[in-house]
């Protein structure tokens, strides 16, 4: 009925696959791929660190950490496949603010904050990015990424399960961790937007998909639907 008002896309992201061989693509890929590699490395280190705070959980957390290292190697092979050198210094700078907040929480034994940063935020960020990347990835990276996505859902559930079990005592801490760290995630998404666009990944899609995954995790942990919009808004306001 309203066909005349339904115009074509104006978000600047073309339909279809990008040309994986151009300099522009390879340059953007060197940063995006590095972020992914660094993200998996950070995830490994973070799960091992959380294991020191939760000695009873150390073994399953170590298993998760090993899985993250496998993912990292997979993504390193994606860069080799395209003959791209990942820009690791860029990626380390990219993660620095979140890394610092995680380390501060770790030093203070704030388990809930560590889990919010790693098991909810970083995992939701990764899942959103991987889902949006898969349809526009090169065939090699697509296979690797599809396998990783399946694993990522397992970790997210792990973090949720612990926070859910301890919801009442750590509710306030989760809210604080959300308020402090969600704007950082938002700014990370902003920083990556131009390079992501070269890979045909839209910024709007990245932010909305991240918020969907993140709010879903928060709902499972125990927040009400009214809380979710309020908590997620910390990312929108950025």
């Amino acid at each position: 009925m309203a066909a005349s008002v339904l115009d074509s896309c104006v978000d600047g992201i073309p339909e279809g696959l990008p040309d994986f061989t151009t300099d522009a693509y390879r340059s953007a890929y060197s940063r995006i791929n590095a972020i992914v590699i660094e993200g998996e490395q950070e995830a490994h280190d973070n799960y091992m660190a959380i294991g020191t705070l939760l000695p009873d959980e150390a073994e399953p957390l170590a298993q998760l950490a090993r899985m993250e290292l496998r993912h990292m190697k997979g993504f390193q092979s994606c860069a080799r496949n395209l003959s791209v050198e990942p820009d690791m210094p860029f990626a380390q700078t990219f993660f620095a603010p979140l890394h610092a907040n995680f380390q501060a929480a770790l030093a203070d034994n704030r388990v809930a904050t560590c889990l919010v940063i790693q098991a909810l935020m970083i995992e939701a960020f990764a899942i959103a990015a991987y889902h949006i990347y898969i349809p526009v990835a090169d065939p090699f990276a697509r296979r690797i990424t599809e396998a990783v996505v399946k694993d990522e859902y397992t970790h997210l559930n792990y973090g949720q399960a612990w926070l859910k079990a301890h919801f009442e005592e750590c509710r306030d801490e989760i809210e604080v961790a959300n308020k402090v760290n969600l704007p950082i995630i938002r700014s990370m998404l902003e920083q990556v937007a131009d390079d992501a666009a070269v890979l045909h990944m839209g910024k709007e899609d990245l932010i909305e998909d991240f918020l969907i995954a993140y709010q879903e995790a928060l709902a499972d942990v125990g927040f009400t639907t009214r809380d979710l919009a309020r908590l997620g808004a910390a990312a929108l306001a950025g």
Binding site: M1, A2, A3, S4, V5, L6, D7, S8, C9, V10, D11, I13, I127, H131, V149, Y153, G202, K203, E204, D205, I207, E208, D209, L211, I212, Q215, E216, T225, R226, L228, A229, R230, G232, A233, A234, L236, A237
Partner: protein, 349 residues
């Protein structure tokens, strides 16, 4: 559990509603912010039928606003993400309200069944168009006589005749009400000719201005171009205009006392629903009035018909309309009627 997927009627309204709900970051955000906002389950209600049965359901705001229609990918994403949320929430039958079903149909979202890790189950969704078509048809049937219009002798124009709702209304007018003549108006000639040839009774294809000049009743089920102007002097008097399009903006175009505009596809429930969501939809009695497409999801839940009762294009049969209409009456929904002042004036005049 039934579900309703809706959205605000404009960006300005959406911001006001967000402020009322205490979502200041949404209220302060610009359109780009809303384009990245995920769907929100904003309200859960329980409602009780005339039969005494009680059901529960939820309203999901897709965070879509009509200003996003020019952003193809955004509009598509809003609809699919809201549907995914409905399914993941465990809602068994969810109506696609406002622009949601229009976007679904026009962008052919049947091709987009996979949303991240969720495979959308189409049987959990309904456009609600069967109930909407039945309600519009009944609104004509019940209100035309109050203006002194004898439907057996009347010409009824249907603007948007070849659409899902329009074609169903045409069939009902031709076969159940048996109006004197149907005047068919739509953009595409091919589907119009097919429709005319499939209808029992007398019908003619006309351009809009000629159809309006001859019609005693006009059913609008197309969105109107903002630039469209209608000369009231050329219209028959009295004339019943049923505004079944979305958004409902027809009443602002007519001022003559014998042109009676009725909001089409709206029902009134027998008791207050106790929700906030219809206040944003410009209903006069937001506690009782709602879109017929939403009511269809409630009816399917009351009846335990967990199926996509209305789906695809031009699949609405008279039997399905009668069936949903009977359920509508049984559970306490009434098609919205003209206000009494409106009909008194016409009969006196």
């Amino acid at each position: 559990m039934f579900g309703l997927i809706g959205h605000s009627s404009s960006f300005a309204d959406a911001r006001v509603k967000a402020r009322q709900l205490g979502y200041d970051a949404f209220a302060d955000g610009d359109l780009d912010v809303w384009c990245t906002a995920p769907p929100q389950l904003v309200e859960s209600v329980s409602i009780t039928s005339l039969t005494g049965a009680t059901i529960e359901g939820s309203y999901i705001d897709s965070c879509f606003v009509p200003e996003m229609l020019s952003r193809f990918k955004t509009a598509k994403r809003k609809v699919l993400n809201a549907m995914e949320l409905a399914q993941k929430t465990g809602l068994q039958i969810t109506a696609l309200g406002g622009f949601t079903s229009i976007i679904f149909e026009n962008f052919n979202l049947l091709r987009e069944q996979q949303v991240r890790a969720t495979t959308l189950d189409w049987s959990r969704f309904t456009t609600g168009n069967t109930h909407t078509a039945w309600v519009i048809a009944r609104q004509v049937e019940l209100n035309a006589p109050t203006l002194g219009i004898d439907l057996g002798k009347a010409r009824v124009a249907v603007v948007g005749a070849t659409g899902d709702i329009g074609s169903a209304v045409c069939r009902w007018m031709a076969e159940s009400i048996r109006v004197a003549e149907l005047l068919l108006v739509a953009r595409q000639q091919g589907p119009l000719e097919e429709l005319r040839d499939s209808l029992a009774g007398s019908s003619r294809i006309l351009p809009l201005d000629l159809a309006l000049a001859e019609a005693d009743v006009v059913v609008w089920v197309a969105s109107l171009p903002k630039t469209l102007t209608i000369d009231e002097a050329t219209l028959r008097k009295p004339c019943l205009m049923v505004d079944g399009g979305y958004p409902k903006n027809l009443d602002s175009r007519f001022s003559h006392p014998d042109i009676h505009v009725l909001k089409g596809g709206i029902v009134e429930f027998h008791t207050d629903i106790g929700w906030q969501m219809m206040e944003a939809a410009d209903m006069e009695r937001p506690q009782r009035q709602l879109f017929a497409c939403f009511a269809e999801a409630m009816l399917l839940e009351f009846e335990g018909w967990h199926t996509n009762f209305s789906w695809g294009r031009n699949n609405i049969t008279l039997e399905a309309m009668e069936r949903i209409g009977a359920a509508s009456r049984r559970h306490g929904f009434q098609p919205l009627a003209l206000s009494p002042q409106s009909t008194v004036h016409s009969l006196v005049a």
